[in-house]
Amino acid sequence: MLEARPLREPRKCCPDVIGAIGDTPLVELKRLSPKEGVRLFAKLEFYSPTGSVKDRVAKSMMERAEAEGAIQPGQRVIEPTSGNTGISLALICRLKGYPFTAVMPENVTEERTAMLRMHGAEIVYSEGAKGSNGAVEMALDMAEQDPSLYMPYQYGNPANPDAHYYGTAQEIIDDLGDVTAFVAGLGTGGTLMGNGRRLKEHDPGTKIVAAEPLQGEDVQGLRSLDDGFIPPIIDISVLDRKILVSNRDGIIWTRKLFEEEGIFAGVSSGAIASVAVRIANELDEGNVVFLVADDGNKYLSAGLWTKSIDELEAVDSTVWW
């Protein structure tokens, strides 16, 4: 006679969709691992209310602001964001009753704009050629001119890396244990700083590897190097390696991730996967974990999934991640 047994461990119900953020799956990638003895794992952050790792960051920043009394009920929130953080903040702010304005470069995919508007966000566009730097500059300026605005400022807010220190990294330690190398994209720096610190506390031998986008020629259109920007939360000493990935490689590997492992991810994930496999190739054994920040839906309109690499015009001049 078959014995009834639970299929899974019961877990508590989430009080609302914000409560469903975190606790994402860590999936082993047996097909993409380059050699036996080296295990490759992807942490799938698109298992989240708005479909990206930024849900953790937005939740952490807003909850901390409330706990510290930094924001008043109904206060307008403004943030420089190239998309994912904006969408996360738009959802969370709407549920918590804060009007929200996203400042972003004008050359974003239509999916991101649509999702922001759907969540009730107001959008202010900064100059496309200036990229994320331009959006940061504009938002900082707006917040300075208008004290009624609250800006979480993901680039400088410790609640950003803390979301990973207390959340993402702890989940990896709980699920897997030992991590030989952790690979993530370098954007605001939150993922690498938060995970880096927590994973090294658990095991000082863990290598923290940053994957960085190689910006194409047109995107480099800054007047001078002084227009550059380094997010305040980045502490380079936490990193063991920082590796450039071309848009082309990012696209190729994003497709590999989908074709070989069935993971439908965004372009940053492919780029990060390529670095994770490179690191895995250098090891004799160990666990290499990398972060999949979002899924592939937002890149549909850019032709990422439908066109050949050669067809994708001016691949190098597009900011993909």
Binding site: T81, V136, A210, L225, F229, V245, V267, Y299, W321
Partner: protein, 98 residues
């Protein structure tokens, strides 16, 4: 054998508009000195008065940021690539719809 050094768009006015300058050297420090001999205007753009790499500039040897390697003492060999890039904030994609 010379090593190709990729120059970012904002600095090409110092290289006679060249996107790439080939230099022979065994480490990054010497490579930069030779580069500056050929393109003197680059020195002030890349190095501060303390002769250290300015904070908004990144240099990559074989796609690896030298700040997370041996800095300006990072070795360079024939067959390597060197890329100079301005530091830019990332944080998400803005893909231009074709």
């Amino acid at each position: 054998m010379p090593v190709p050094v990729r120059i970012p768009t904002p600095l090409r006015r110092f290289t006679g508009d060249r996107a790439e300058v080939s230099v022979t050297a065994a480490d990054l420090s010497s490579l930069l000195e030779r580069l500056f001999e050929e393109c003197p205007g680059l020195r002030g753009q890349l190095l501060g008065e303390d002769r250290k790499l300015r904070s908004f500039v990144n240099i990559y040897v074989n796609d690896e940021d030298v700040r997370v390697q041996q800095g300006l003492e990072t070795g360079v060999a024939s067959g390597d690539t060197v890329v100079i890039l301005p530091a830019m904030a990332g944080g998400g994609a803005c893909a231009c719809a074709p």
